[in-house]
Symmetry: C2
Subunit: 500 residues, 2 copies
């Protein structure tokens, strides 16, 4: 390549290195750091963030991008080089619209909001959190204003997590999904309850941990390029494709959830392990969007990990590890148990049939707050009304309701819809994959999972963030995000389980 | 403080943050990183090193130091502010004498030398390592030349690890120690061999690990500000006084060494946990020198951990954990076993009576190489002759001889003497401490160790790197480094054990 592009590439590699260091500081903070290290870690993180921010918003970097853009203008627009310049320019243009003053204020407000939220949640007192959340919402409205004109004020927020996606697109999709899922869980509610008491007895943590690691080894998670640790909330963190780590947690009350959490995070991690090596040390060495990322984690967790063919292979192994708990539970009973549908108050504990409804409720509230149709003070009441409408239950206190998620205190408004979109995308990709690998279920029954990983690697993983999510999904499946595959999947699966 | 000092302080805090991040990247590399992460970690480390190096050698920083120096010139020269400017200026003046070209070449040569050394060691073939080591030595001679005029060419190298210390001082000290230690081990060789077979049977790793952690909890290692992990070579890494981590390793062949390694590293770590908080995020928040640092680790490992009063308290506890191995071994036999003197080929396995001789041999060879009296090609032969002279044994191959240590391949010439100086300093401090706490041994017998930590904290730890090592030792003990306390200690201890 030509000279300016090389200079641009060197700069973007250095920037990528700085954010890689920040990622390690943050991973370590959540996994290893002793309590006493917090204060200093805060200083180190903010110094590196400042150095990184200076570099990615500097006029020199902007000029380098423009010079490089000229040099790559003759190349195939799908080449790594052209895509890198395109994405760097898009991110740069967004970043320089945001004044440094806003960035500083936002950091202060959200740092405070997190502390306040923790207290408010523990006391189940929304009134405590309200002033902090009002400031967060005001800042987010201001943030959106930097990107006007827009079609909808929520668009710039959504765009940070789903590049190129519009609020109206998401709403159109959710409007199709919502009534179908509400109807489905109503139908299920009329059926006899499934017995899953065997999931609520004590399981040994170490044995479950080991079983989970065995499972994801079958999936194709590469341990030479990863590791699993414990943390309060499970997450995946990548330090380049050669080092993608996952974490999990053990909750004695919901012991088997460790296994599904491990499968979920392995899905994120195998995506990150699969980016083309040529994209390393650039902003293309990341997922196409949060929804596409979530499609991979939900796929391994649910489409594989809660499927009958998977358990035909693994259930005898699980029974052998846990003879006391599962020795007398047959495969069909186990399968129905792990797929039990039960409307619940807490999003992160929701089953496949109800999960999206938790998300839609949050999206409507976020849009309402941003567009001014809803005030922060009214959130608890509106929350409870929507829960009743969608799921037929309502929380007895705000800690189990509007205060349950950390996202808003972090200032992460615009993120929630990606969870539900991820579910939809997972099945849309699955249907496309089935056309290429019609015997996938027979393979699973034999303990063979690698052809699934290979297909996803080819269609999704290797491209990293070269393409916008809708473009990537179109390439892989022939259409943009389409809710129908997911609805078909839910109806088939739960129709069978609940004899609807 | 005044304006320029504040600016200087802000800059030095940022620089300290960058090196703190580098420390975490390096710690993680040795403790957690999967194999696949090496390549990218290398990039991230070298980017941050470059950013850090640019900042600490920039003319702007030099000017800030000079401006700050003017502002602090009226202050007490022992104030934190005056010491900080003094140390920053000293380090800056040293760094800018070294051309960037040399830094780059040195990094290349030592990176290659490490790879070559590993192969040479595994094949026990010094010829393989020789060309790489010749380059290292040539670079070190050139490095010294940047600091001419000097009294001895070894001085600038030594100064990097023992600020202010001269080669002639070290040699004068070692010339006193050497004949006495040689005579001591000759006398011991004439006595009946001590039985320590009970140390060479299998011990359970987890039980030993837990016992080690119990011991250092008694010492005063603060777990809210630290943790212990496994690594190939034990080490201590500090990320500020609030987060000082240690590592250890388990070698089934020398199982009990894990315990002494844990005590050793806890000594380093408690030093780092003890710097005054006011020194945080500056180059004063580190040890006064490598020798002073080693004095703390050797003190807890040997003066405490291999002493009779310590084991009067802990031995019944150790026996209870390992009844099979130690149930029939009485305290006196155990004490003699862990203090057995036996000339051996490998430095890191040497006992207290022979350790310093391994160091003196290395120092003489380093000086010879630097001054030109010795050529790299003659090292193996000279090594073996010296080993015979000092310890009465010689290695059968170079892997057990001149190739055993990694230091030279890293370019760390000038470091070795600090190990022996650390031993001397440990006892010199100990004698001073005994005057203030005459009943320290009775305290140990009761399991009370905190008054020792408190004394070291007051005299040594809290000062960080405010003073040069000789100055600090003078303040704490009334004299500069003096070999007599160590010689008295050795003669007393081993005179008693071996009935000399």
């Amino acid at each position: 390549m030509a000279q300016k592009f090389d200079q641009f590439k060197t700069t973007i590699n250095e920037i990528s290195d700085i954010y890689n260091a920040i990622a390690l500081l943050s991973w370590d903070q959540q996994v290893n750091m002793p309590h006493g290290g917090s204060e200093n870690r805060g200083y180190v993180l903010s110094t590196l963030e400042r150095i990184g921010h200076q570099k990615i918003t500097s006029p020199e970097f902007g000029q380098l991008i423009e010079d490089a853009a000229q040099e790559v203008s003759q190349l195939d627009p799908e080449s790594d080089e052209a895509c890198l310049v395109k994405v760097a320019r898009r991110d740069y243009c967004k970043r320089i619209k945001v004044p440094a003053r806003w960035v500083v204020e936002n950091a202060q407000v959200t740092t405070n909001a997190q502390t306040v939220w923790e207290e408010a949640k523990s006391k189940s007192d929304f009134g405590l959190f309200r002033p902090a959340l009002e400031k967060v919402v005001a800042l987010k409205r201001e943030y959106a204003s930097f990107f006007s004109p827009y079609e909808r004020i929520y668009d710039p927020l959504l765009d940070d997590f789903e590049p190129g996606m519009k609020t109206s697109e998401v709403q159109a999709i959710f409007n199709v999904v919502r009534p179908e899922q509400v109807a489905l869980i109503k139908a299920i509610a009329g059926r006899p309850e499934i017995d899953d008491t065997f999931l609520h007895v004590p399981y040994d943590e170490k044995a479950e941990w080991d079983f989970g690691e065995d499972v994801i080894t079958f999936f194709g998670y590469d341990w030479d390029r990863g590791r699993q640790d414990k943390s309060v909330h499970p997450f995946t963190q990548s330090f380049g494709t050669g080092d993608v780590r996952i974490t999990t947690r053990f909750d004695p009350e919901r012991a088997v959830s460790l296994l599904f959490s491990t499968m979920h995070e392995s899905g994120h991690a195998m995506y990150d392990q699969g980016f083309d090596k040529s994209l390393q040390r650039t902003p293309l060495s990341t997922g196409a969007s949060m929804a596409v990322h979530e499609s991979q984690s939900r796929m391994w967790e649910n489409l594989v990990g809660r499927s009958m063919p998977f358990w035909k292979f693994f259930y005898p192994r699980l029974q052998a590890r846990f003879p006391g708990q599962l020795g007398k539970v047959d495969l069909d009973t186990f399968y129905r148990g792990i797929n039990k549908v039960e409307p619940s108050l807490i999003r992160v504990e929701a089953d496949e049939a109800t999960y999206n409804l938790h998300i839609m409720l949050r999206l409507e509230m976020e849009i309402g707050l941003l567009e001014g149709a809803l005030e922060v003070k009214d959130l608890p009441e509106v929350w409870n009304v929507h829960m009743q409408d969608y799921l037929g239950i309502a929380p007895s206190n705000d800690s189990l309701g509007v205060l349950q998620d950390v996202h808003w205190s972090w200032g992460m408004i615009g993120y929630f819809p990606t969870y539900a979109l991820g579910n939809l995308v997972s099945v849309q990709l699955w249907e496309a994959m089935l056309k290429d690998i019609p015997d996938i279920y027979e393979q699973f029954e034999r303990g063979e999972f690698l052809s699934l990983l290979k297909w996803m690697g080819e269609k999704i993983h290797r491209h990293g963030a070269k393409f916008e999510p809708q473009e990537l999904i179109q390439k892989a499946t022939g259409s943009k995000i389409d809710p129908q595959p997911y609805l078909r999947y839910l109806k088939n699966k739960y129709g069978e389980i609940y004899h609807l």
